[in-house]
Amino acid sequence: MLEVTTDWYLTLAAILFSIGFFGMMIRKNALIMFMCIELMLNAVNLTFIAASKHFGQIDGQIAVFFVLVVAAAEVVVGLAIIVSIFRKQSSASVDVLNVSRG
């Protein structure tokens, strides 16, 4: 208990991931749902770095790079979509977007 081992970091990442996940389920505002996605991605990044330290290989940090870039690109495109959708309607809620209902 007195030593900070790898599994502590993994637990932390898990907690961060679940908080982000529940945030996605609860919130209605599209922007805030995006931020919760960012939380989850960051949790994954933390896992990668912890694993990189655990195995003594640098590839974990390379993976973090890629995740970072992809997250940035995703934010760009996603925000563009949200902007163009919400130009049509004034509210930022996602609940009205149920056109694909089957």
Partner: protein, 642 residues
Amino acid sequence: MDFLFVLPIFLPLLTAIFLFLNRKIFNELVTNFFTLNSALLSFAISFFAFVTFALAKFKPISLTLYQWTRTPDITIGFTLDGLSGVMLLLVTGLSFVIQLFSTSYMEKDEKHSNYFVYFNFFVFSMLLLVMSSNFLVMFFGWELVGLSSYLLISFWSQKPAAAKAGNKAFVINRIGDFGFLIGLMIILNTFNTFDFHTVMQSSTNISENTITTISLFLLLGAFGKSAQFPLFSWLPDAMEGPTPASALIHAATMVTAGVFMLVRISPMLQHSATASIVIISFGLLTALIAAFSAMNQYDIKKVLAYSTISQLGFMFIAIGAGAYVAAIFHLVTHAFFKALLFLGAGAVIHSMHHEQDMRKMGGLRKRMPITAGMMGIGTLAISGIPPLAGFWSKDEILASVFAKAGMANELVFSIMYYLFWALTLGAALLTAFYMGRHWLLIFEKDNGIDHSEVQEAPKAMIRPLILLGIFSIFIGFINTPFFHGLEKVLHETLENVEVTHLPEGIALVILAVFSIGAGFTGLIIAFLIFGFQLHKRINLGKFKLESPINLVKDLSSNVLYLNKFGNVFFVSGMKNFSRKVAVIVDGLIIDGSVNFISSAFAKTSKITSATQTGLVRNYVVYFGLFLILLISLFIFTPLVAQ
């Protein structure tokens, strides 16, 4: 040159195809030309082949056209031995004579060419049946003969009665064919081959139970085809077809296919005592029922139809008594005089402008002397008056039954066969009676109707009648007790068969006296009633015979109400049953289950489509659920060590 005998089989087929393709182009003259020449050619070739065969001391020849598999042995082949040679001559000869008659009878009919197409097709199928060397080809011929019969019975299809009669014939035939087919299956299973020769030779190694089973099933087929009880009601209805067709099919050839088949399998049949007793009992029953029903019929052709059924019963009696030569002999003689009688009836119908009720005829002897004379010869022949043909064959049958009684092992069998002999004698008496009545009602009895416009039949009808009349007189001499011609011919075919031999010497003469006596008695009674009008001259009220005679007349006309019974029991019963099946099985069960499945699908899809809400947050929840599933999978499977 040896295989010349196969040609007459396929020549009628080619003629039928040729006439069918050109049926709209040819007029009557051309059709007549082709068909008559083809029939004459077939007969000439058959005669030549038979003479060659006879000169080779009746050694059987076989020809295999095509072998499909080796074990089980399924081939297509033909054979010429004594039995098939006799049938070949009979079929081709009669086909020529009757076609000659038909050219005049079917004159100016709008379906003239169709008739000859069907006729030639029938001849082809019949030859296929008799010339076959294995059960399979015989079955082909068997089925095709049924088909041709249907086509010819319902020939004038605009008459609803004709169409119904055709259907009835085919359906009843089918019942018989069902038995035949099962018999074939058992044969293939037991012997692994269809070939007659092999089957007959190996039949000694098979248990008697199997032989009895096979024989009974094949017998069912023979009953259907040869119109024995209980499958006989189609034959009187088949008289709706043209008379020459009836003459060939329902007198001489198709209905004898059952008899032919049973003689073919006689090496196997002789080992089964049960089958022989069944055959003889049913044959006798049929003979008596049919003879009884013929006594009071008023249609000119129906009397002949019932007579045919009765005579076929005689042939079955002969087979059951083990007298196979006698059966074939009677087949041959019967073919001639029955064809003669039918063609004569056709001539009368034609001259009376298609009137068939005998009560409207009478006294036609003066107007149609030649026809009357020939039909008289036919009547005498069928009654068994010597030295005409029918006497020799019928007497041989009766003598064989008597001899079998003498040969029987136990007393009860002996008594049974003596009883059979007596009943057969009674049937012969009835035969003479109703045939005499038939002739007298047409030609002798004066009903006071004016027949001045009735003329003698045209030459093309008279000539076949005369030809057949001559044959009816002389054909009997091929197998008398003094000259066993037919027996020699059939010797090779019936090589291993125990044929019942006739008694010798004085016993034979006494038996002959009995059968002649029966024939004469029947004719005399008929003459007394219908010629001499005895019942009008004596007051029968004294003997209180009115009601029994009326009862007999009623039962006879309605065929002992057998047809009505069959109709109510089988036909209506079947219809009700099938209606119930249609409603319950088809409607409720099958439709119900299919509809149920489809509605279950629809409901399920409606329920499951409720998850497709289109809302993002719900889909996130689904992610969560699956995440839980994944995590628990990792926890609870042994792959992950904790």
